[in-house]
Amino acid sequence: MTQLAAFKKMKELMTLHYIEAKTSTEKPIAWLTSGAPVEFAYAMDVVPVYPENYAAMCAASHQSVALMEAAEAAGYSQDICAYARTDFGQDLLRGGPAGGLPPPRFLICSTNICKTVIKWYEAVARKYRAPLFVVDTPFLHDGLNREVLDYTVSQFHDLGRFLAEQLQRPFDRERLLNVIGMSREATGLWKKTLDLAKARPTPFTCLDAFIHVAPIVTLRGTRPCVDYYQLLYNEVAERAERKIGAIPEERYRLLWDNLPVWFKMRYFEKFFEERKCALVAATYPNSWAGIDASADLHASDPIEALAISYLNIYINFGFEARIRYLAQLMDEFTLTGFIMHSNRSCKPYSVGMYRLREEVSKLTGKPGVVIEADQNDPRVFSEAQVEARLDAFLESMPALME
């Protein structure tokens, strides 16, 4: 990954976050999905814990297999999401880099990333006899409309009431507005940082983005998160200004669609660098930057704007919007092609991907390839197959024009 000074700060932030989660005695712990409106939790001094983030950490540190095997031994099928299996395993073994996650006092999940999270969180809620609040964000087959927005906003208000009831104190709306402000600031900086990858050579790849996405997932709505993304932006902007590329030579510029293969980050870094491929853009890190930057401009109040931002997520959109968005990225980031990760663990991202590939290629005239893998389960990853497919793809792709 690109050697960025900000990396040290990020590690420090994440370590502090996990220390607080593991040692907190006064603040209640809530488990949240990555697309849940964490701003409500921060407004009530709740410590949010993210099993998805922790599952990714387990895979990146090559600890996910043992954890998934423990979950499978407890009866969970290999057919279910590998993040969920990793999470069930860490819970059973108290495993992973932080020695397991602290138990939740309550859980909040949102369906904007998938419906699977409901099942996953229902299981955890049942185990811990902890209340579960589901934020139901309907899939936007034909874009956002007033009814979906009103429905989502009404649930945000219910979430405030849920937290007040759980914590036996009034919901702090003033604090929420403050937290929302910081959340918007951080996501704005994140988007600006991702946009810096448009430069040639790119100063920041999506492999970097996959690493530096952690604070925006876990800490958005806090001051340290804003400060961190300001730091990161400044550093990447300077590299762009000085034309320092993330890889030594940039012959191809590609988009990566779907989650990363967390247990193969170093492998892919080396693989692409050797082939002079810069993975310039990705859809996954953009999930915390919105697919339409101006979508919430006309919101009537900050909570409505927040609801828009949680609906405005790539995999919560129908294929027409996804195709247009991918084509837009292909154009804006001067890409030569795209890679789609058909991810066994993520159906919202992956089901229909073959059709998306056809249509995006047709629309942009740029080649695309689909590789079969998994975000967290190395047992279903075939290096030889992936490599053969990617090599054949790269050989057929015209290089970047000078």
Binding site: C114, T116, K127, D136, F139, D158
Partner: protein, 373 residues
């Protein structure tokens, strides 16, 4: 007694074509699950339920990866092969991630209209109803455009009565099976239920009535055999249900999404039909696909087993069905705590050889039979 049902499902596409030609009603394909069929019927449509098919996957693999369930893959296969040419439009639900994206694939590949019945899962009844009113309005607009007829309150009342009566008769069949285990073969029972997916309600109702009346006259099987409850999303492949018919066991109840979970839905209340639709969706047996804190599956299944005086539960999951798979470990554990044995038999719609299933079910039945003694 069951020949007419078997005939209807032998070639469901031919059945639908023939009935469509006769009734002239436009066929609307209904994807899994819980779309109130009476709404389509009231708007002049002919609703036909699709729960997948036992087809070899030859075309759908180009668009659906192997980690999608065989229900979704075979549904796409049906349309790609052109088997459902009499179907003019499809109604989808938001039951799972695969189905949500499947609708998007249909929209890109085929010209037939599709309607999305997005089921709100917030427990807040006001929010649920407010959102559902928009959803059903959108769906009905689409259905009416296909049928060329508007849904009148009178037509809705009549259709609700018709479908309510059918589900009532189906429940009667379930009760008969529970009361008099062994009076019908398992394969016949599910053929009778499945025929309702394809036959027009006006034809299916009288057939069910006749069947129920005939079954009422039959004596119960005298032999006491282990009693099983089956649980899963779909009771297919039907051939696998025949496995039980050669065994020393009785299936006395089920918890299938296309079985009891659908059959248990009450009559659609039409005075406020949007509220009625919400009650319909979340009433009846709980489903792993519908988050509903008010209806806990664990307590429900235990109660079902006890009410059916069953000796064990056989889980019948479709491979790659996540909602079902997530629930199973805790559900099995809870059953175990209650002293109810359970066993899991993974299924796939493309499976055609059931010998191994038979051996395993046999072993489970012997085990629970032994426990009884």
């Amino acid at each position: 007694m069951f020949a007419v049902f078997h005939e209807a499902i032998l070639d469901p596409f031919a059945t639908v074509r023939k009935c469509h030609d006769r009734t002239g009603r436009p066929v609307i394909g209904v994807m899994p699950a819980y779309f109130p069929l009476e709404l389509i019927h009231a708007a002049g449509g002919y609703p036909v339920q699709f729960w997948g098919a036992g087809l070899s996957i030859e075309h759908a693999d180009a668009y659906l990866p192997s980690y999608c369930c065989s229900v979704a893959r075979s549904l796409l296969e049906i349309e790609m092969r052109g088997l459902a040419e009499s179907v003019q439009a499809y109604a989808f639900t938001s039951l799972c991630d695969t189905l949500i994206n499947l609708r998007e694939i249909y929209r890109r590949l085929f010209a037939k209209p599709t309607f999305e019945f997005s089921i709100p899962v917030t427990p807040n009844p006001e929010a649920r109803k407010a959102f559902l009113s928009t959803v059903v309005a959108g769906v009905m607009k689409g259905v009416e455009a296909v049928s060329g007829r508007s849904m009148s309150p009178e037509a809705l009342r009549a259709s609700a009565g018709l479908y309510g009566r059918i589900r009532g008769l189906q429940r009667q069949l379930y009760q008969l099976r529970r009361r008099k285990p062994g009076i019908m073969k398992n394969r016949d029972f599910y053929a009778a239920i499945k025929a309702g997916f394809f036959l027009p309600a006006e034809d299916y109702g009288p057939l069910l009535e006749r069947l129920a009346a005939e079954l009422e006259t039959l004596p119960a099987c005298a032999e006491q055999l282990p009693r099983l409850v089956l649980s899963g999303m779909v009771f297919e492949p039907l051939g696998a249900q025949a496995v039980f018919d050669g065994l020393r066991a009785h299936v006395v109840d089920d918890d299938f999404a296309n079985g009891w979970r659908s059959v248990s839905k009450g009559d659609l209340q039409v005075d406020d039909w949007v509220a009625g639709t919400a009650d319909y969706l979340f009433g009846g047996a709980p489903c792993c696909c519908l988050h509903n804190p008010q209806s806990e599956r664990h307590a429900y299944l235990i109660e079902k087993v006890k009410a059916a005086d069953a000796d064990g539960v056989l889980f019948w999951p479709m491979r790659f069905c996540e909602p079902d798979a997530f629930d199973r470990p805790q559900l099995s554990e809870r059953l175990k705590q209650e002293g109810i044995p359970s066993y899991t038999l993974e299924m796939d719609l493309t499976t055609s050889n059931f010998e191994s299933a038979k051996t395993r079910v046999e072993a489970f039945c012997e085990m629970i039979g032994g426990l009884e003694e």
